[in-house]
């Protein structure tokens, strides 16, 4: 026989039935159920297959301690694997599926692993596939099969269709857990006037009181609870979040919380960052399993879970129940089950018990056997238990259809441990209690090792009052009760006489023998054991297994448990979905999108846009069915033969103003700017402190005390912050201000032999003749009454100008430029053509300014002033940066005209393709002017060693090898006739 619903009782609404499915089978439950309680009530014992051995597993817990019943919820893109059946609130239409089973839950091929259990013992994978003498490839070969056979549930591969939210909150006191301690802490703090945040993992408030049959403080537990919940909910200074788990505590009172929302809410989950002045951890304690043979079988549960299912959900796990314990706590479970009419046998490892416990058991009708321990369960789903004395004698078989176990209690230490607080071992209670912390964090209730509900409430009041006083409020005096509360001491860890597989960590399938074997092999420290056996890993984080494992190690090493050490728990306490962490910051909302002032005009014209950093920039302007290659080659011809216009508004622009503006530029650029005359521009390069090139661009002298600096698009923010840093932290005496004006100006490059003609027709008040406006000249003028700034500078090697107008006039400028260009046989060109034009001219760009290249590597050494020092001038002279065999810039051309090669190829001597080669290719383009492919790259020794010689451009990833000739990196018009014409 299996679980069933009791006739009456429970905090479920029998008037509101719900239907759900498990592995496609339609089942029914009630509002107030969890998936686990509804499955149990439906008689479903087998719920999952275990992680490694694929052993059948059922429900073993009633809360976050569940280590077996991991299921997958939802289907398709909504799939959530590794969901604890015990914490999943039942909703109508829920679809749940078992995990790790192929082809089905009842018949699982992976269960054959059980027959090879000896092979899968501790460290098996390492020894067999990765150990000494194994070829490194053997792990690579086997890994695929091992990962397929083992592992937790499978996530959907589709994009997550759900919405997630994130919130930030501040409060005086964050109370984690709404059991008796948490509720009282929140109440006292709130009554003292504090701003209180109360987070509860469950969908109901109350914690252990939800399944408490005994009165608390002379009041029925449910009445006690509902009175307090009402007043807390009515208090304006209390925020209560149900369904919310605190998964991590961080520096300065920051807590990470994840809130699960109901179907139909604005989001699936909400991620909270709560900053609290004080934190009360009232997260309760987790019951430990007993370690005995086949303690993982479906039907074997924690004693507290048996009690919770009976009292809160009116579900009996069986009709004949055997409960095994080593402490007082299981008595309440046995009494409640017996009172509900379940035949209940309680076996206790202890011998001498106070009369009160014996009397109460007798009164409730519990058959009590003392000095008895469970040795093993019998049956695929437990149908009997062999019991005996602690040394394995006096064996007797007791028939039953459900088993409860209580191996003692572990206060939830995870959040405190995350803060680096070492717990303190309490021998009497066989439990780790919270250690001291200098942070304003207090554990209360069972989380502090206080067992009785009334003491928990008192502990909560003391914590609330303490928080209030610490924050300068008045609060009633309340003493923290000491830990404990049992009538008789616990008798922990009886490992004698155990038969068969006794699991220490149910989720990770680690047995008593595994832990003992690991210890025998020397992996007897908790952190080592964890890595060697996987105990305490995965979603479970050792919630029920950690202390039992320490006890096994202690026994093996014949040392007291507190001499063994502990592992550090890490966030998150429960799994947190990536979606919740990302919140709304996904897809196009991950980063802002920046659009140039010309954007709409470019798009209207048919530009294909490209994301470059945050910016959307015009990539190319296809005509008809043109591909990108056809398009950019045509656009290049427009520039070389007529006139092309290109949006350059994204370039960084900085107004440098003040009497010391020139001095600042002299210090940050390698070349001189103070000596630049007003009305002239100059190309400059900046280095970092370490002598490596940071950025390049032109700066224009607008006036005696004003420069207009341009930077590359990519480094605009970096250069701005750099200038600010220098002025504020190193040179506060310089009388100069820097202002980012990137967004204030729209700009276009006008390039090609007809550029002068086009601009002269547009800007009448500037004389564009070569004599009046020579190369690198700067003029201010107006078009249609709009002020504009023009410099004669060229990136393409053609006669070219950059013209800037206030951003709001960008589209107007673009329209007249476009009209003028078209009427002269020209047009627009995009980034692809821009990049190709600059490669033809040998100008360095982003791929060359890679944060590793020096001025000399880039062939720009002659720019560096010898008359003044500048940022980087000292460290660029380091011997290693001056080595002649450094990789330096070269031009590259395929030996055979018509062949192509690719950026990213490795350059090596032909016939020696091993290792890292002699250099690499950075930029490659087809050159219509030269009628073949050309590129830039870096090669050791540079032009001095390689000019005129042949290298192999090896592209092993894409499978291409091309012989290339090394040439000077100025392919077109090296004398600059076009530029100056």
């Amino acid at each position: 026989m299996t679980g069933f619903r009791l006739k009456s009782g429970g905090a479920i609404d029998r008037g509101k039935p719900l239907s759900f499915s498990f592995d496609g089978r339609m089942l029914r439950g009630f509002t107030g159920d969890t998936l686990a309680s509804a499955l149990l009530a439906s008689g479903q014992r087998l719920v999952a297959r275990s992680f490694k051995y694929h052993r059948p597993r059922g429900i073993m817990g009633a809360g976050v301690e569940e280590a077996s019943a991991l299921v997958t919820v939802g289907k398709g893109a909504h799939t959530t694997p590794n969901t604890l059946a015990s914490t999943e609130e039942l909703v109508d239409g829920l679809d749940a599926y078992s995990q790790h089973c192929w082809p089905s839950l009842r018949f699982d091929l992976g269960a054959i692993n059980q027959l090879f259990a000896r092979l899968f013992s501790a460290g098996f994978y390492y020894k067999t596939f990765m150990g000494p003498g194994k070829r490194p490839k053997s792990w690579l070969f086997y890994e695929h099969f091992i990962r397929r056979a083992a592992g937790l549930g499978v996530a959907s591969r589709e994009p997550d269709p759900d919405h997630y939210e994130s919130r930030e909150a501040f409060c005086d006191v964050l109370v984690i857990g709404a059991g008796p301690a948490g509720i009282e802490a929140a109440r006292v703090a709130a009554e003292a006037g504090l701003d209180v945040f109360l987070a509860e993992r469950d969908f109901l408030l109350g914690g252990a009181l939800l399944h408490e049959s005994q009165p608390i403080e002379d009041t029925d537990a449910r009445d006690w609870l509902s009175a307090r919940e009402r007043s807390l909910r009515a208090a304006p200074n209390v925020r209560i979040l149900g369904h919310t788990t605190a998964f991590g505590l961080y520096d300065n009172g920051v807590a990470g919380l994840v809130e699960r929302l109901q179907p139909g809410a604005s989001a699936r989950e909400r991620f909270w960052v709560v900053r609290a002045k004080r934190i009360v951890i009232a997260a309760g304690a987790l019951e430990r399993p007993l370690v005995f043979g086949n303690n993982d079988r479906p039907g074997v549960m924690l004693a507290s879970a048996l009690r919770a299912y009976a009292n809160r959900w009116a579900v009996a796990a069986g009709r004949r129940v055997l409960i095994a314990t080593n402490n007082d706590s299981a008595y309440a479970a046995a009494h409640d089950l017996a009172r509900a009419g379940i035949a209940t046998t309680l076996i206790d490892a202890r011998e001498n018990l106070p009369a009160s416990l014996l009397h109460k058991s007798k009164e409730a009708g519990v058959e009590l056997r003392l000095a008895c321990v469970p040795l093993r369960t019998i049956g695929r789903c437990a149908r009997a238990v062999e019991i005996g004395t602690a040394d394995g004698g006096g064996v007797e078989t007791i028939q039953c259809d459900a088993v409860g176990m209580s191996g003692g209690w572990s206060p939830t230490q995870h959040l405190l441990s995350q803060r680096g607080v070492k717990p303190i071992w309490n021998e009497t209670l066989a439990a780790f209690l919270p250690g001291a912390t200098g942070e304003p964090i207090r554990c209360a209730g069972a989380a502090a090792g206080t067992w009785r509900s009334e003491d928990c409430a008192r502990s909560g009041r003391a914590a609330g009052a303490e928080a209030a006083r610490a924050l300068g409020r008045r609060a009633p005096d309340e003493e923290f009760p000491g830990p404990g509360g049992w009538e008789a001491p616990i008798r922990p860890w009886v490992f004698g006489g155990i038969k068969g597989k006794a699991f220490v960590d149910l989720q990770n399938d680690v047995t008593l023998d595994d832990v003992r074997q690991a210890c025998a092999e020397g992996y007897d420290a908790p952190e080592l054991l964890k890595r060697y056996t996987t105990l305490g890993m995965a979603t479970d984080q050792g919630r029920t297994s950690a202390v039992n494992a320490l006890a096994v190690i202690a026994e093996a090493r014949a040392k007291p448990l507190d001499a063994i050490g502990t592992t550090t728990f890490r966030p998150p306490f429960v799994p947190v979905s990536i979606g919740a962490l990302a919140g709304a910051e996904r897809d196009q909302h991950l980063l802002p999108t920046r659009r140039s002032p010309m954007h709409d005009a470019l798009v209207a014209q048919g530009a294909r846009m490209l994301e470059t950093g945050l910016w959307l920039r015009p990539w190319f302007y296809p005509q008809g069915e043109e591909t990108v290659d056809e398009s950019y080659l045509r656009e290049m011809r427009l520039v070389r033969e007529a006139v092309g216009i290109c949006d350059v508004s994204t370039l960084g622009k900085i107004a440098v103003q003040g009497p010391d503006a020139g001095e600042l530029l002299d210090r940050v650029y390698v070349n001189a700017f103070k000596s630049l005359t007003v009305g002239r521009a100059r190309y400059g390069v900046m280095l970092r402190d370490d002598g490596i090139v940071m950025d390049d661009g032109t700066s224009w002298r607008i006036g005696e005390h004003e420069y207009f600096m341009t930077t590359t698009t990519a480094n605009a923010g970096k250069v701005m912050a750099w200038l600010e840093e220098l002025l504020e932290t190193r040179w506060p005496d310089l009388r100069v201000a820097v202002t980012s004006v990137t967004d204030q100006w729209a700009g276009a490059s006008v390039a090609g032999p007809l550029a002068r003609d086009l601009l002269q027709a547009l800007v009448k008040d500037v004389d564009f003749t070569n004599e009046a406006f020579s190369f690198m000249g700067v003029r201010e003028g107006s078009f249609d009454g709009v002020h504009c700034r023009i410099a004669r500078i060229s990136f393409s090697g053609e006669l070219a100008y950059e013209i800037y107008v206030p951003a709001d006039y960008g589209q107007a400028l673009w329209r007249v430029l476009l009209e003028g260009a078209k009427s002269r046989g020209g047009g627009t060109y995009g980034l692809e053509a821009l990049g190709a034009l600059r490669v033809e001219k040998g100008h360095v760009g982003g791929p060359e300014l890679d944060g590793r290249a020096t001025l000399d590597d880039l062939g720009l050494g002659r720019l560096a002033s010898t008359k003044k020092p500048f940022i980087g001038s000292a460290l660029r002279m380091r011997p290693d940066l001056q080595r002649k065999d450094r990789a330096q810039i070269v031009g590259l051309m395929p030996v055979t005209t018509g062949e192509t090669f690719k950026g990213g190829s490795i350059l090596c001597a032909a016939g020696d393709e091993s290792g890292h080669g002699l250099g690499w290719v950075t930029s490659v383009t087809e050159s219509p002017s030269l009628g073949q492919w050309i590129g830039l790259g870096f090669v050791k020794g540079g032009l001095a060693d390689w000019e005129g010689r042949t290298l192999l451009a090896d592209d092993p990833i894409r499978g291409r090898r091309t012989l290339v000739k090394v040439v000077a990196p100025h392919f077109l018009d090296p004398e600059g006739k076009r530029l100056h014409g």
């Binding site: 920051v254 912050a721 840093e725 932290t729 506060p732 940022i871 001038s873 000292a874 460290l875 380091r878």
Partner: protein, 91 residues
């Protein structure tokens, strides 16, 4: 998860700020020898306890600040403008 009390903008989340390195380093003159620059750029102590750091309020007032932070507890004990003249101004 730091909160930095910008002297100009008030207490803000550290995500508004950009870390700018060790504030105890004094950079040498631009024409100082390579060895002095090597010291300033590469040689750092790794103190346990109170430490002075540069932070820029990059998504706020953009001013550079000197933040005194304990590297063990992350407690921030002092925040002041990097420019001494501004410190005087806000007094």
């Amino acid at each position: 998860m730091l909160r930095i009390n910008c002297p100009f903008c008030g207490e803000r989340d550290h995500s508004e700020f950009t870390y700018g390195g060790d504030a105890t380093v004094t950079y040498p003159a631009l024409d100082a020898p390579t060895e002095a620059w090597f010291e300033a750029v590469y040689v750092r102590s790794n103190p346990k306890g109170p430490h002075r750091e540069r932070w820029q309020h990059s998504d706020g007032c953009r001013l550079w600040l000197i933040v005194e932070r304990d590297t063990v507890t992350h407690a921030i004990t002092r925040v002041e403008p990097s420019r001494a003249v501004l410190s005087e101004l806000i007094k």
